[in-house]
Symmetry: C2
């Protein structure tokens, strides 16, 4: 009996026409049956936002002339795309969900702002093995070619081995030529944060407004972090969980006087 | 020497005029110097979204006639509000950030969609002890009175004892009269998810669209979860972390063939 090809859901947060998702679709088409459900416009930094007070459009589209898989363009967030795909579009639960390849880093604390990773996490909550891929190059001209073989090998292993319950993968790829990428490291999330500097301006009507401009601050010197790996030429793979409970803190809070 | 009063930042995701934040402001005014920076409109289910491709307005407002503290109404998301408050508005780092009181539950997996909790988490990344409060009543007429003394005691303990590094609190309050609330339980996040049913409609121009309508599915039978506590008349307090690393999974992924 021929083994059924795996069903792979592809999404992202840069929008359905971004170069990063195009590369991801190409690679996934070598591994299984692909269905794309992705935002119709850029949705970066949308975190785990969902659309509850507005309507959602989701239309079948043909992006490539020779396209054999199905693609849907959705007016919602990355998380909306996953919900629509799994509950409305796909006839069965996908064997894998991949999100990206994001134009820009989602390492360290960026994971909590990332639409790319939130889509992967949403699929994880539905019991679907899931991976978010990001390249450390924000440009729309970014070169995704060096990432190709690594994306394929990580997705292949994930299809073969599955993932522990409640875990999805956050994969970040340094901006390097392929022969300078030293390999893949499984890491922990570096302990870092953003310090914002708001650019204050005045609009033509005289009202003040701001642009958010931040600086990434990493004070984590550990050599087992994603930031260390990326700065040292490695692809970082962080297993991410959506049980946010700080189990170690329960005992401490239980000493509080809350009568 | 008189001890300096604590500085308390108050925000939410239901918008600056919501009854829930009004109660929170009242309680915090009994504990310290209050500054409110909250969204100018409802921002529920915005997760950890931030505004990077648009401008932000943030205007000083007077909501109450007899208001002695400062309030700012912001066009952005709950996380934007915290970033603006800490980096642009406040003269020093607040001693406490409280978010809510949300109209509706943020227990279990809802924590990842919640604008209320994302604001608290953002403050946590900046090293500020932080608590998100939610009442299990979505109504704008919800009765927040039974929550008052509990909100005060939890915030008081947090000011007194601080929180472990990298931890914020997710507090949910059952919809019960005060004499039926049995107490406070420190819990873990229940392992649950949403199953969506999309309500498909056709717009006046003949184009199909969807409304997201979901069902909360909790298969976690544990008696140490927030869901159990809430269903049994307790206020749930879950310590939440933003290091999402699934440390237990690192060993497993390290067995993968990623050459």
């Amino acid at each position: 009996m021929a083994k059924k090809k795996p069903l792979i859901l592809v999404t992202n947060d840069d929008g359905i026409t971004a170069p990063g998702i195009r590369m991801l679709i190409e690679v996934m088409n070598t591994l299984g049956d692909v269905c794309v459900v992705a935002p119709d416009s850029p949705q970066s930094a949308m975190g785990h936002a969902i659309t509850i007070n507005d309507t959602l459009y989701c239309d079948k589209v043909r992006v490539l002339e020779d396209q054999t898989h199905q693609e849907y363009s959705c007016s919602g967030t990355p998380v909306d795309c996953v919900k629509l795909a799994v509950n409305e579009i796909l006839k069965r639960k996908p064997d894998l969900c991949v999100s990206g390849i994001n134009h820009g880093s989602n390492s360290s604390i960026n994971v909590i702002y990332s639409g790319t990773m939130s889509a992967a996490v949403e699929a994880g909550t539905l019991g679907i093995p899931s991976i978010g891929f990001s390249l450390l190059d924000y440009s729309m001209d970014a070169d995704f070619e060096p990432a190709r073989s690594f994306v394929k090998s990580i997705a292949t292993q994930c299809l073969k081995k599955g993932l522990p319950t409640g875990v999805v993968l956050n994969v970040n790829i340094p901006k390097l030529p392929k022969n300078e990428i030293k390999g893949i490291k499984v890491c922990r999330q570096a302990n870092a944060h953003w310090e914002e500097q708001f650019d204050k301006r005045v609009n033509p009507l005289g009202r003040e407004y701001y642009w958010l401009t931040g600086e990434f601050v990493n004070e984590d010197k550990g050599e087992d972090t994603d930031e260390w790996a990326l700065h040292n030429g490695y692809i970082s793979v962080v297993p991410v969980q959506f049980d946010l409970t700080a189990h170690h803190a329960i005992k401490d809070i239980n000493t509080w006087d809350l009568s």
